[in-house]
């Protein structure tokens, strides 16, 4: 079977489907689902038998094809229904056309004159890495920061560092804000901090931030009388 040698060159299930459509010289707007599904499944079987790493997406599309096929086989009772009813293939066709356009766009990009492949700029050495503190900091992609952290964590044994989620970061933000406010106003009441907050998440973060700051012994909370106003201040004055 000649197609055995082509399997790994597909970029995904849509790519495989496009290939089958082209190979069979089929009109993309009127795909004979039964034939295409059969051929598609043959390819999948071949991939399996070759122990190729078959991405789950191939199976998802196989299921979609089978589903469309079964819907196409349903008898249509009323002639008028055909008008209203959406063609089961419609969504798939739209997806295929979109993918095809981007595939062409990718080809187009590849045909452009690329720096580092077709044309080159000067190479610069770090000859004058002068230590002028005044120089502005270059803008950095946030990805570099995450990668730096990830690599470090991978090397260190501190596995608890991995538990970073959006909530924790938002909490850091609220903690910083509260410390800033305390630096300015020295003491704050609980209601100062949560009073005007209408946003529920922000309220929760404020509460968690105060608990965290107390646990970290960065702030202290106190009240003059029981059930009186709770005040917080920095545990250590700067």
């Amino acid at each position: 079977m000649s197609y055995k040698f082509r399997l790994d060159i597909f970029e995904g299930p849509l790519d495989l489907l496009l290939y089958l459509i082209k190979k069979n010289e089929i009109d993309i707007y009127n795909i004979p689902i039964a034939i295409i599904t059969e051929q598609y499944l043959e390819y999948i079987e071949a991939m399996k038998s070759l122990n190729l790493n078959l991405a789950g997406e191939y199976l998802v599309l196989a299921a979609t094809l089978i589903h469309i096929k079964s819907r196409m086989l349903l008898p249509v009772h009323d002639e008028d229904e055909i008008e209203d009813e959406e063609d089961p293939r419609e969504e798939l066709v739209r997806q295929l056309l979109e993918y095809k356009t981007f595939k062409e766009a990718a080809l187009n990009l590849d045909k452009m004159t690329l720096l580092g492949r077709d044309i080159f700029n000067r190479e610069f050495s770090d000859e004058d890495e002068d230590e002028e503190a005044e120089r502005p900091v270059r803008e950095i992609g946030i990805f570099e920061l995450v990668e730096a952290f990830r690599k470090m964590v991978a090397q260190s044994a501190a596995t608890e560092l991995m538990e970073i989620d959006v909530e924790k970061i938002s909490l850091s933000e609220r903690i910083n804000e509260i410390i800033d406010e305390l630096n300015e106003k020295k003491t704050l009441t609980f209601t100062d901090l949560v009073g005007e907050l209408h946003n529920k998440m922000r309220l929760i973060y404020t509460f968690l931030a105060i608990l965290e700051l107390m646990k970290l012994r960065i702030i202290k909370a106190y009240q003059t009388v029981s059930y009186g106003t709770i005040r917080i201040r920095l545990a250590v004055e700067n």
Binding site: E57, T101, A105, D110, G141, V166
Partner: protein, 170 residues
């Protein structure tokens, strides 16, 4: 200024990244914008007429000298590198990002029909793609866009310089 043309040429030559008009004006100080753009046009023409190994190009919001394409085989030998080709998967992914940005990972995956985590990471490592922020919808998913480096590599003045694909708008 007497040596304005020489200064503009020298500045573009020593800059590691495409040098913007604004930066040039900031450094030169007493030159009008029109004066500098005029000089740049002269330089572009000079190098085209010389028909040498280098030319001046407007790219990624600035100007840069680059070698001509006909010289590529020898330069690759000097650098002892293979031509840096992007894989088909990387090209498809960057095409979706370039034309649809800012775009979520899930949108890219919907178009390509495959998981793009690895490819996306590779593109970010190559600094062709970056995280531009989060989308203001529940879950606040990360959104991606192309970088200045992308413009530099593909020789684009800006994003509107991308080859038009009527079908891709939207």
């Amino acid at each position: 200024m007497d040596n304005l043309k020489a200064v503009v040429e020298a500045l573009i030559f020593v800059s590691e990244i495409p040098l913007s008009l604004n930066k040039m004006m900031e450094i030169i100080g007493d030159a009008e914008k029109e004066e500098i753009t005029g000089i740049i046009s002269d330089l572009v023409r000079d190098y085209n007429e010389r028909d040498g190994g280098i030319f001046l190009i407007e790219v990624a919001g600035g100007y840069q000298f680059r070698t001509k394409e006909i010289c590529a085989p020898w330069i690759r030998q000097l650098k002892a590198t293979r031509p840096k080709a992007l894989s088909q998967a990387a090209l498809e992914t960057i095409a979706v990002i370039a034309y649809r940005q800012p775009v979520m990972k899930s949108e890219i995956e919907k178009v390509r029909g495959v998981d793009v985590s690895g490819i996306l990471k590779g593109l970010m490592e190559k600094n062709l793609v970056r995280i531009v922020g989060r989308k203001d919808v529940p879950g606040r998913p990360i959104i991606y866009g192309t970088t200045k480096k992308f413009l530099e590599v593909f020789g684009l003045k800006d994003l509107s310089d991308l080859p038009t694909f009527k079908e891709l708008e939207g």
